[in-house]
């Protein structure tokens, strides 16, 4: 009996340890990023890093300004958000309020199916199908542009936006809908004036999580945006994002060189940004609906 107590104590200790593993891992990740990345700031100032307009890591002397990369990420993200939020919210409205029966299931399956497709496969389709399409449509020299990236990422973010928005809409009590309709509102008015505001915090959370997904996306965006580390002026030119930079250049960077630590520094930026976005999205998800 005593032996069994001991064994139980051990098992429960392991369970507790695993329970705290998530905290341990987040901290560990951050610590490792800092360990390597902070070394950059002994040679480059934070201002030059964040605001520098030139990313020439292998030139002599190297320049590590990530402004073009920040702009690249921002542009692609904005484009993707502009596309995915209206489409996503519209789809969620349709699915939760209008669609019924097998059509609803089919639509939901179609959207969720997209979420299962690996990003490298989407990048592949982006290169082989979408980019040539864009090139022809806009008469460009290359189809690998920020727009291509935005479109691809918009579709990648949509399952997240649709599903969380749908949850938020379903959580709105029936009474709201019935009251609005009873007061003479049309279906459309009811959805826009009553439902959407009521589900607002959930929708904001959905959008933020979608944005978080987009900012963090690496492979698809790396394959279709063209990898030109210059500050973009339009959507129709190649850009480079923060994530793509790390993925593309880490293979060439010499260990412990400035280039190497610079890439880790970019990793820190990404970690912090997505941390903040996810944190805020989580707060919105757990707010009381109006």
């Amino acid at each position: 009996m005593r032996w069994r107590r001991w064994r139980e104590r051990l098992i429960e200790a392991l369970i507790r340890f695993s329970g705290f593993s998530s905290i341990t891992l987040v901290v560990l990740i951050f610590v490792f990023l800092l360990k390597e990345g902070l070394a950059l700031f002994s040679t480059v100032s934070l201002g030059d890093f964040l605001g520098g307009r030139h990313w020439y890591p292998i030139s002599d002397p190297p320049r590590f300004g990530i402004l073009p990369l920040l702009c690249g990420s921002a542009l692609v993200t904005l484009g993707a958000t502009a596309l995915s939020v209206p489409l996503g919210v519209a789809s969620a409205l349709f699915i939760s309020e209008i669609a019924r029966g097998w059509m609803r299931e089919a639509l939901k399956t179609g959207i969720e199916l997209f979420a299962a497709i690996p990003s490298v496969v989407l990048g592949f389709i982006g290169i082989t199908v979408l980019a040539p399409l864009i090139r022809q449509t806009f008469h460009l020299s290359t189809g690998l542009t920020a727009l291509t990236g935005s479109i691809t990422l918009a579709f990648m973010a949509m399952p997240t936006i649709v599903s969380i928005t749908e949850d938020a809409l379903t959580a709105v009590p029936r009474g709201y809908r019935e009251a609005a309709l009873a007061l003479g509102a049309t279906r459309w008015q009811m959805m826009v004036r009553v439902l959407l505001p009521a589900a607002a915090s959930g929708i904001v959370a959905a959008v933020m999580l979608g944005i978080g997904r987009v900012i963090g996306e690496t492979m698809a965006v790396m394959m279709v945006t063209g990898n030109a580390a210059v500050i973009p002026h339009t959507l129709l030119q190649p850009v480079r994002t923060l994530t793509a930079t790390i993925a593309a250049e880490m293979g060439e960077a010499v260990r412990a060189s400035d280039h190497y630590v610079a890439l880790f520094a970019i990793g820190i930026v990404l970690f912090v940004v997505t941390f903040v976005i996810n944190f805020m999205a989580d707060r919105f998800l757990h707010r009381e609906p109006r």
Partner: protein
């Protein structure tokens, strides 16, 4: 109008899958699937990439499943409702939001370099395991919560300890949900490229890996390289690789969904 928007989104997946299916089916053949690559990938097959992905994913489950289930058990059966628990949950949310390439950096820094595992299946699997952990924890937690509280109460009333109750009156009935969640997590891990870029992946290995300390080929990385860096590969082979990866991931998803439906129907409570 709303309908068109929804249709667009839903059809996108059908289009993507359709294109790959149509253009890639021609490339699939016994040789393609079972032969080693030759001539810098212009001939031969992708067998080692398939094997590499399977080994990687298998090892990932070995690491991620026990820890994930244990963490979920902690959250549902042991944790009290206080700020510590809230921080744990916040950490899980954040782990799931970390960009995949940052995981790759972390895996590089910790497992490849610091732990000296080198570019290896071990390093890659550990990295993927951490990435998959939030998915498994969330799914397991949901599965554990779906077990009625009355089971726990009955078990306690018969003199069982907390762990005995979890082990005999809760866990066995949460297994289907845990399995489903794990399979879904695994299917995600199988398709990931960025975490394995620096931790395990090699492009052209003439031999299969001998041990988990060897680098390996993997399907996602393979697809990435042949679609961006190597010219003159026949289209059928490229689409074929994409198709194999897609089929692997989608069939795992399908398996998970089928399991979920099957067990929901069989449930007697």
């Amino acid at each position: 109008m709303l309908f068109c928007a929804t249709l667009l989104v839903a059809l996108a997946s059908a289009i993507v899958i359709g294109v790959i299916l149509v253009r890639g089916a021609g490339g699939l053949g016994w040789e393609f699937l079972t032969a080693m690559p030759a001539k810098g990938m212009r001939a031969g097959g992708i067998f080692p990439a398939i094997v590499g992905t399977l080994e990687l994913v298998g090892l990932t489950v070995v690491f991620a499943l026990p820890m994930g289930v244990a963490a979920a058990i902690y959250l549902t059966e042991y944790a009290k409702d206080n700020w510590v628990t809230r921080v744990v949950r916040l950490a899980i949310v954040n782990l799931s939001g970390v960009p995949s390439v940052v995981y790759g950096l972390f895996g590089l820094g910790l497992f490849v370099i610091f732990c000296r595992f080198g570019t290896s299946i071990l390093a890659g699997a550990l990295t993927l395991a951490i990435m998959t952990l939030p998915v498994i924890i969330t799914a397991s937690e949901e599965a554990l919560r779906s077990v009625p509280d009355s089971f726990r109460e009955v078990s306690h009333s018969l003199g069982a300890s907390q762990w005995q109750t979890v082990r005999h009156a809760v866990l066995p009935f949460a297994v289907p949900g845990i399995m489903t969640g794990t399979i879904l997590g695994v299917s995600r891990a199988a398709g990931e490229t960025a975490p394995i870029l620096f931790t395990v992946a090699a492009f052209y290995l003439p031999r299969l890996p001998h041990s988990i300390l060897d680098p390996a080929m993997a399907l996602p990385y393979h697809l990435y390289v042949i679609s961006t860096q190597i010219p003159n590969i026949p289209q059928a082979k490229r689409y074929g690789t994409a198709l194999v990866l897609l089929l692997l991931v989608l069939s795992l998803n399908l398996l998970a969904v089928m399991l979920r439906t099957h067990f929901r129907r069989k449930r007697s409570w």
